[in-house]
Amino acid sequence: MASPLPAEPGPAPRRPNPSYSSLPELSKPFVIDPANRSYRHQYSNVYFVRLVELRPIVEKRAEERWKAVRGKPPLLPRILNLQRSQLCYIVGTVYLDMPLKPNVLEDMARDHWIVPPAPRPEFFSAQDAVHLEDESGRVRLVGDVIKRERDREGGGLVTGLIMAVLGMETSSGDFEVVDLCFAGLPELYKAPGDVNGTGHGKVKGKGKGKGKAEGMDVDEAPLSGQDKTWVALVSGLSVGAQEAPADLKTQLLVEWLTGESGGPSRTRGSRLQDQLEGARVARLILAGNSLTMPVRGTDDKQPKRFNTSNKTLYPSHPTKTLSLVLSDILSSALPINLIPGPSDPAGATLPQQPLPSVMFGGPKVKGLECMTNPAWLEVGERRSEHVSEHHLSQALVHGKGETLNRDSFFGTGGQTIDDVYKYLPSNARLSMARRTLEWRHIAPTAPDTLWMYPFPDADPFILRQRPDVYFIGNQPEFETALVGDADAPTRIILLPSFAKTGQVALLCLETLECKTVEFEVPTWVGEANGHGVGGMKEEGDVKME
């Protein structure tokens, strides 16, 4: 005999409503005006702008780093001014000469003779050569330091980043490298009008790498669960895929976000814990791959006879399904930001333009923001700086405004890191994401191997400021870390595909902690013990090594 639920203590949970800004001055460079679009510009403009903008920064850092070196090595203004056996340092763009990189001329030559091999997932090899070039010329970099940098875990070089090298020219005309220097982490993004208050707690040196911020003083009592505001980050919803369980996971996610799911909590505390957690989510960010290509059923390929019906095997209207999902979520007052990814119909070149909102119902649908890829946004109302120790592990976080409680987010759909992955021998995608921050450029391999719109006079992927949260979608697994100083951290979040893993990342705006919620759907076939068809498990804060 079921007993009625006890009356819910307190008022019904309401969703927090922090302020939101799409940071127009930072997002504007990514928007391409369709009227002025022109593909006839050359990519040399992009490389030139990158060098012009990042070179002064790198020069300054290099000077600080190497001014105490014996021999007082000078900075050469042009690479071609190199003289033999003179210790000096030069700044330029890195170019990796990789024999396994897909080369259109070789492809054409091969097309005539043999079947071309399948495209490789990675194209680094032992025969790669590293060059440094600027407007005047290029020089090949040799030496142990370069080899070590390329091979070390968490290191690596890709084409297109701006680097300073200290060394001297050898007799064969190559440049023997003694030390390298990059642009370094930029400052945190501060909204105009923010007052930069003093950081709480001790500042821990440079904070890059694996340091934990021990000894952070916490000024106030830790925020209780009721007061934290969360932002949910999902990537790879993959609506429209063939597998039915993917849609079931999406439904579970929707139910959790709207507060329809959940029951008596497993932990002590108030009832309907799950519902309360879902209610504290203030915004949902879909970071890429919300749609996939619908798979044609086998029936579609057969010639249609006029007495058979035209029904396809699997009714595939991905955009309709997605707009239903989104409207369900929106109806519970949860605003959504939609960032396109590699499999979304938003264009193949970066920066991908926003999906037209008419696909999801038009301008009358409020709360849905279609954004470019990559995109900046800012969600407000963070309390004063407040990080508890055991949440800080390696996270790369883009900076936040400290005193005015605004968190700036910056995210991509994942193509940038996937492309960097092809150049490096390691699998450490988190360190690749951190390196893009250190290089101050999120997509250095564009336009070499990553398709990019040919901007005639700007390179919008240069990072001038760090955001508080840097999220990257469509990665193989969930990883997170904090980078930066202890009082100005940036959290990097790598989001896995929801269709594959069912994980949703939750980020607390106030404390920058990050946890995941995982939805899983057991397989349909032969479920002997008959437990429920859906499940949810939560993990605490993920400690990354």
Partner: protein, 198 residues
């Protein structure tokens, strides 16, 4: 004398070597003579003939109302009227009209010297005395200066504006050259030197 534009053009077109023709802007300049001169010079350049039409290549109108080709006498007159003309030009520019470009003007001498030094005193390739005056030389060196960015694909004025935006300090005189009447109408001034090839 009118240039032998028709003869030159058809001969080259018959040989299959015709170059792209120019589209003249419909904008009316502030004085009538400035239109005649650039048209004639531009057409002669479009045939790229190094022949006798060379005589037209030099200075634009030295006297405001004359349509006569410069002769040695005219040059002396030009020198006398140059001071008056420069003042007129500046006045015109201030009033919003476009000034005419005078390649022999003293304003460009500093740049010409620098340009010649940058080229090491050598003559650029395919630059005969009839198609290439000192202003062309200045602009060509501006194109090839890698400090201001790649020159391909945009006009010289756009490149100048872009270099200015990036803080690279391109010389102000080049902008003045490029915003004169000839600088805007004449493709050999307006487009970079590689524009017909790339």
């Amino acid at each position: 004398m009118p240039p032998r534009k028709s003869a030159g053009r058809t001969k080259k077109a018959a040989a299959g070597l015709s170059q792209p023709t120019l589209s003249f802007s419909s904008r009316k300049p502030s004085t009538s003579d400035t239109l005649a001169k650039p048209l004639s010079k531009a057409q002669s350049r479009s045939t790229a003939s190094l022949g006798p039409s060379a005589s037209e290549v030099s200075i634009p109108s030295t006297a405001p109302d004359s349509d006569v080709e410069p002769t040695p006498d005219a040059e002396e007159r030009a020198l006398r009227e140059k001071g008056r003309k420069d003042a007129e030009d500046k006045e015109k520019a201030r009033r919003g009209g476009r000034r005419t470009l005078d390649p022999k003007s003293k304003e460009w001498e500093g740049l010409t010297r620098e340009a010649k030094k940058a080229m090491g005193g050598m003559q650029p390739i395919h630059a005969g005395p009839d198609t290439h005056n000192n202003v062309h030389h200045i602009l060509r060196v501006f194109d090839m200066t890698s400090k201001y960015g790649p020159c391909v694909g945009i006009t010289r004025l756009e490149r100048w504006e872009r270099a200015n935006k990036w803080g690279l300090n391109p010389p102000e005189e080049i902008r003045e050259i490029l915003t004169t009447a000839q600088g805007e109408d004449d493709a050999s001034y307006r487009e970079n030197v590689l524009s017909t090839w790339l």
